[in-house]
Amino acid sequence: MWKPEPSLADLQYLVEKAGLTRDALLAAYRQMCLIRHFEETIADRYYIGKTPEFNMAAGPIRGEMHLAVGQEAVAVGVCSLLESQDVVVSTHRPHHHALAKGVDASKLAAEIFGKQTGLCRGKGGHMHLFDKEKNFSCSGIVGASFPQAAGAAFAFRQRGQRNVAVAFAGEGAANHGTFAETLNAAALWQLPLIIVVEDNMYADSTPKWAALAQPHQFQRGLGYNVPSYLVDGMDVIDVYRAAKTAIQRARDGQGPALIEAVCYRYRGHFEGDAEEYRTKEEVELWRALDPIPRLGNRLKKLGWADDATLEALRAEAKRAAEAAVAFAEQSPLPDPAEALTGVFR
């Protein structure tokens, strides 16, 4: 725990300052639980046909699978402040961002299963999720989100819209040229762009000490005159506070911001990852900072929820995740002829 846990009085002060109500925090709790259960349910189905021998092409969910268990607070802390017209561009690890942006869990699950009813009618899959209505997209290419979100922000500025665009990326992507290039462009043109670096400590298997000359992205942001915040990514309130300031500034035409959210993924880089690069003890250490119980404990501390309320929210989230996956499982696969359609409009 590298930021002090606030006392009750301080917590009440912080929450009030942030404009966070009981309803808002309960909604955040429910949303984080939905993401957690969604990811775990997907993991459960992913291994069907993949045990005892792991074959990526086998089972109802084919291909790679990158889950975001542990990183829920970053997605929810930022996206709960966004409007429908605001744009989110995500990464190869996109489910938590999608759900937090309001993408329908059933269509999301169906896309992950490659079904006709999926967001992209089965053409994109888990790393290529698109939802025009929710202004959500992602890319399987590391570092691709920065300029695309900047392009949407450029359009908003051009048209005088009070919308913002958010680029999510990992700390590994912050080594990509697009990170530096986009920081420069966004600061130069004062774009309503929020760059959120989810530092989960590992770029695939590479620990950050082996890949980053200096450990913090906020310092790089400041070098480009971009206001930059270092937040506890395992604390939804801390994420929310920084995001609120950043998003408000951007809406008011005061330009971009960077949020560096230090967090941790409890599962491997991809499902099937043997995780030779870290110890079980390290993972357990971070379990103590699990953002969901942390928020739950604070809700109880504030007197805004008891165990029964939290249990009911978790159960509701679990049911929603199961229902989404059941919808996906029951949906039909696409007609093979669809493969030859849609290259051009």
Binding site: K123, G124, K132, F146, A150, A152, Q158, A185, F344
Partner: protein
Amino acid sequence: MRTMKGIAFAIAEAIDQEMAERQDIVVLGEDVTYWGAVFGFTMGLHQKYGRDRVVDTPITEQTFFGMAVGAAAVGMHPVVSLMFVDFLGAGFDQMYNHMAKNHYMSGGQFAMPVTVLTAIGGGYGDAEQHSQVLYGLFAHVPGFKVVVPATAYDAKGLTISALRDPNPVVIFGHKLLTGLPFLPFEGQEEDVPEERYTVEFGKAAVRREGSDLTMVAAGLMVHRCLRAAERLAQDGIAAEVIDVRTLVPLDADTLVASARKTGRVLIVDEDYRSYGMTGELAFRIQEGAFEALKTPVRRLAVPDVPIPFSEPLERAVIPSVDRIYEEARALVTAPARTA
């Protein structure tokens, strides 16, 4: 109607006339203001529309192509300059993995109306990294429309079509057809209407009719084929010259019809020879005109080496009027196959 010299003026005028009526068009790229994207494709726009709509970008191809993807996703129509096509390596991920695929990957949700302008070709001593053509690379990846104007009339009409297209369109303007004072000019002055008009994609143009052989080309090579055809005519050989205009979509019907008429086909290309336009066109032609072909299809292209600097070396690799003429003569005099 007035006389115009070169495709650069025509492309810039097309963008100007569409920008005047549409707020969704913005121009992005390196040196697009004072220098008109260096090869003139955006000249005059900055003075008229200002820096908010004609935006000089940092030298960051990956980022400004990514911005075009993001802006197109929310309803803008970015016109993006890739100054020399040779620079595509610096930005190609955003082009081929995103711009070209997002419509397909999203199940048709996201249109990608982006017009890319790029300068191609050698013949003026700019060597390996500033003389390539590379449209074959773009045509190979599904999702790009590939436009290669050979005339000012086409350049204007094809550019307006691109600006009204909901898909990524890349316009490859040959430097020796731009009509700019600092470069040789191998095109012709021609009449270009002042009003707006479109030239449809996927319609090849028969630039010269003939019955003895068909020459197929794009861009600058169309003009070199026409000059070779004039010399062939003095020898009593009637060459048909076809300008493919757009590699994607491709008008195979016109090529096949001409091949069926003449029975002899020479494909001329300034791109690298192997795995490129010449091979693809030859395949389409044999597919549709196999029994009518009197000889195997021939091709002239850059013989799978980079474009060298020194003048005799450069001349040795880029198809010239002389070599097109000689190859055509050889083709016409080759014995016809017996059935």
